[in-house]
C-alpha cells in the first residue's frame, strides 16, 4: 500500500476547503479518492513525499497524532475530520444491518469487520454524521490491514488528540468514537477466538 504525505493542501488532495496551512497527512486506502490523489502526485511529484514509517500502525498513530496536534484550532480539527470523511471507503448497503451497528447515544455508525485470508483485519464503516465519518476514516486508516494483535493494542487514550468537543470524552455515552474502537477490538477478539486454528497455521 502506498501512502503519501501531503506537503501542502493542494486542490487534488482537499475535497473540502481546509483553512489551515497544515496539510492532511494521510490518504485512507481502498478508496476512489486515493487513486485520484495518486494520479495527482504523479503529475506533480513535488506535492507529495512518501513517509516510509507508515508501514506499521504505531508509526501511523504517531503521524496522525502529530497531524492533529499541529492543528491548534478545534475548528481546524473538525475541518480535517470532515475532509477525511470524504475519503472514507464506500460501505456496502447489504452490510447496513443491525448486527453491524455500533451502539451509541448520538450518532449511528455501522461497522463491518472481517479477517482476510492472510489473517489481517479488514474494517469498513459508515455513519450518518460527517464528523463521525471522519473519525471512522482515521480509525480505518490506522487499523485496516493490521494483524489482530495490533488492533487490540490501540487504546482510545492514544487518540485523545483527535477529540473534538462532544466526541472527545473518553467514557461518555456520547462518545460513539470510543464505542467504534471498542467494537473494532471486541469483534476482532471474537474473530480471533473463533478462528484460532487457522491463525496458528498462518503464523
Amino acid at each position: 500500500m502506498a501512502l503519501f504525505f501531503f506537503s501542502s493542501p493542494s486542490s487534488c488532495s482537499s475535497f473540502l476547503p481546509i483553512s489551515t496551512n497544515t496539510p492532511p497527512l494521510f490518504i485512507p486506502k481502498n478508496n476512489r479518492f486515493f487513486f485520484k490523489s495518486l494520479k495527482c502526485s504523479i503529475s506533480n511529484s513535488t506535492k507529495y513525499n512518501p513517509i516510509p514509517c507508515f508501514s506499521s500502525s504505531s508509526c501511523k498513530l504517531e503521524h496522525i497524532v502529530t497531524e492533529f496536534k499541529s492543528l491548534s484550532e478545534p475548528i481546524d480539527r473538525v475541518k480535517r475530520l470532515l475532509h477525511y470523511a470524504t475519503l472514507l471507503p464506500g460501505f456496502n448497503e447489504l452490510d447496513r444491518v443491525s448486527s453491524n451497528k455500533v451502539t451509541g447515544c448520538t450518532v449511528q455508525v455501522w461497522l463491518d469487520v472481517s479477517m482476510d485470508e492472510f489473517g489481517r483485519m479488514r474494517f469498513l464503516a459508515d455513519s450518518d454524521s460527517e464528523i463521525m465519518k471522519g473519525f471512522c476514516s482515521c480509525l480505518i486508516w490506522l487499523l485496516d490491514g493490521e494483524f489482530p494483535e495490533e488492533v487490540l493494542k490501540l487504546n482510545i487514550e492514544d487518540l485523545d488528540v483527535l477529540n473534538i468537543g462532544l466526541y472527545g470524552r473518553a467514557n461518555s455515552r456520547v462518545n460513539t468514537w470510543n464505542n467504534v474502537l471498542i467494537s473494532m477490538k471486541k469483534r476482532t477478539q471474537l474473530l480471533v477466538e473463533n478462528d484460532l486454528p487457522s491463525l496458528y497455521m498462518l503464523h
Partner: protein, 462 residues
Amino acid sequence: MEGVVSKLPSSFKFINPNFTIRRTNSIKLKLRRLTSSSSSSSSSTTALVESLSLGHITRPDFPILHQEVNGSPLVYLDNAATSQKPNVVLDKLRDYYTSYNSNVHRGIHSLSARATDEYEMARKKVANFVNASESSEIVFTKNATEAINLVANTWGLSNLKPGDEVILTVAEHHSALVPWQIVAKKTGAVLKHVSLTKEEVPDVKKLKEMLSEKTKLVVTHHVSNTLGSVLPIKDITSWSHAVGAKVLVDACQSVPHMVVDVQSLDADFLVASSHKMCGPTGVGFLYGKREILIDMPPFLGGGEMISDVFLDHSTYAEPPSRFEAGTPAIGEAIGLGAAIDYLSGIGMQKIHDYETELATYLYKSLRSVPNVRIYGPVPSQNVRRAALCSFNVKNIHATDIASILDQEYGVAIRSGHHCAQPLHEYFGIHASARASLHFYNTKEDVDAFIEALKGTINFFSL
C-alpha cells in the same frame, strides 16, 4: 454599571453586583444615560428595571454564564438537560461544608442538629414549592430517575398483577419507560403506549379511551423534554382516578419553569430533579400522597429507614425515612432548598410568563431558518410550548450541528435522542438537536444561537 445597581429599589436584590449585559445596545444606552445623569430619579430607575427582561436581570446571579467557550461568549441553551446554579446556591453549599457539615438524624452534637434542621427545612421548602399538604410527602432521592424507580420497585411490585395495565405515552423519557418495562416483566403487567396527534402532542383523547378497570397506573410527563408540549395533568388524573388508577407525573421539565401544585393536579406521585431547577446535582424528590406512601414497602435497606433491627428481621420507619436508606445528599438537599428560595423570590408565575414569551420567540426565530424541521406543536393562542425546540436541519446530523455550534460559536445545545429514543423512532429519526432555555436566557441568546446556526449550516454547505 455598579452605580446603576446601587440605585435600584431596595426590594430588588442582585446577588452578583457585577451587573453586565451582553449584546443589548438599547439597554446599554439606557444604562449609560442613567449613569451619566446626576438627577436620575428613582422612578426612572424603576422604569429601567421594568424595561429589563427577567433574563437580563437574573443573568448576573449565575457566574458560570459569564465566560468564553472556544473563544466566544458562552450561550447556554441546554437547560432541559441541566440548569445553571445561582450564587445563592453555591454559597449555601459552601456554607454547609465550611460551617456545619455533619450527618443528619444521627448525632446529638450541635453540628449534626443544625445539619438536620437545614436538611428538614429543605424538605419543607420542597413541600411548599409544590404545595404538598405535608413535608413527609416529600422523599429525597438521588434524582428523578431514582424517584420513579422507587415507585416502580415498591408500589409497582406490590400492586401490579398479571394483566394489569400501565399506560404511558410514547414521548416519555427513558427514566419513565425503562423502570416500568422491568416491573412489567416481573409482574406480568401490560404496558400500553399513547401515540401522538397530528399536531405532534401526546393524544390525551386516546389516553382517556385506553383507560379501563384494568388500568392501575398512568405514567406521564407534564412537559415534554423533546416536544415542548404541555399535558393537561388535571384532566388525566381525574379520568384515571375514575377507573381507580394512580397517576405518576414526571415533572422534571415543569417544576423548574412554572407553578406546579400537586394538590390542584391531584397527582398520586410526582417526581422532579434538583439540578434542572437551579439546584445541585445528586438530589431529586418524589412527592407521594401520604396514604399511598404509608402502605408502600421499603426501596433500599440500610440505616435511617428502619425502626428496629434484629438479626433476622427489621421493622421500618414511617415515610419519608422509610425510603431514605443511608446518608442522604445532605448538602445537595440544602442547596436545593436555596434554589427554591431563589426561584420563589423571583416568582414561578413570573418565570413562566417570561419563558412563554421566550418560547414563542425561539420557535419563530428557528422556523425562519430554511430547511429546519421543529418537532412538537406550533405555538398559538391556545397551544403553549415550553421554551425548548428539538429540531433537525435537512442533510446535516444534529450532532455535527451541535459540535460546530460549540466549537465555533460557544453555543451549548443538546444533540441525540434526549433519552426519548422511542419518540425519535416514532418520527422516523435517530437524533435531533435541541435548544432549551431558562429564565436567565434572553432574546439576545436566541439571536446568537440563530446566527450561529445559520453559520453552521453554511459551514456544512460549502
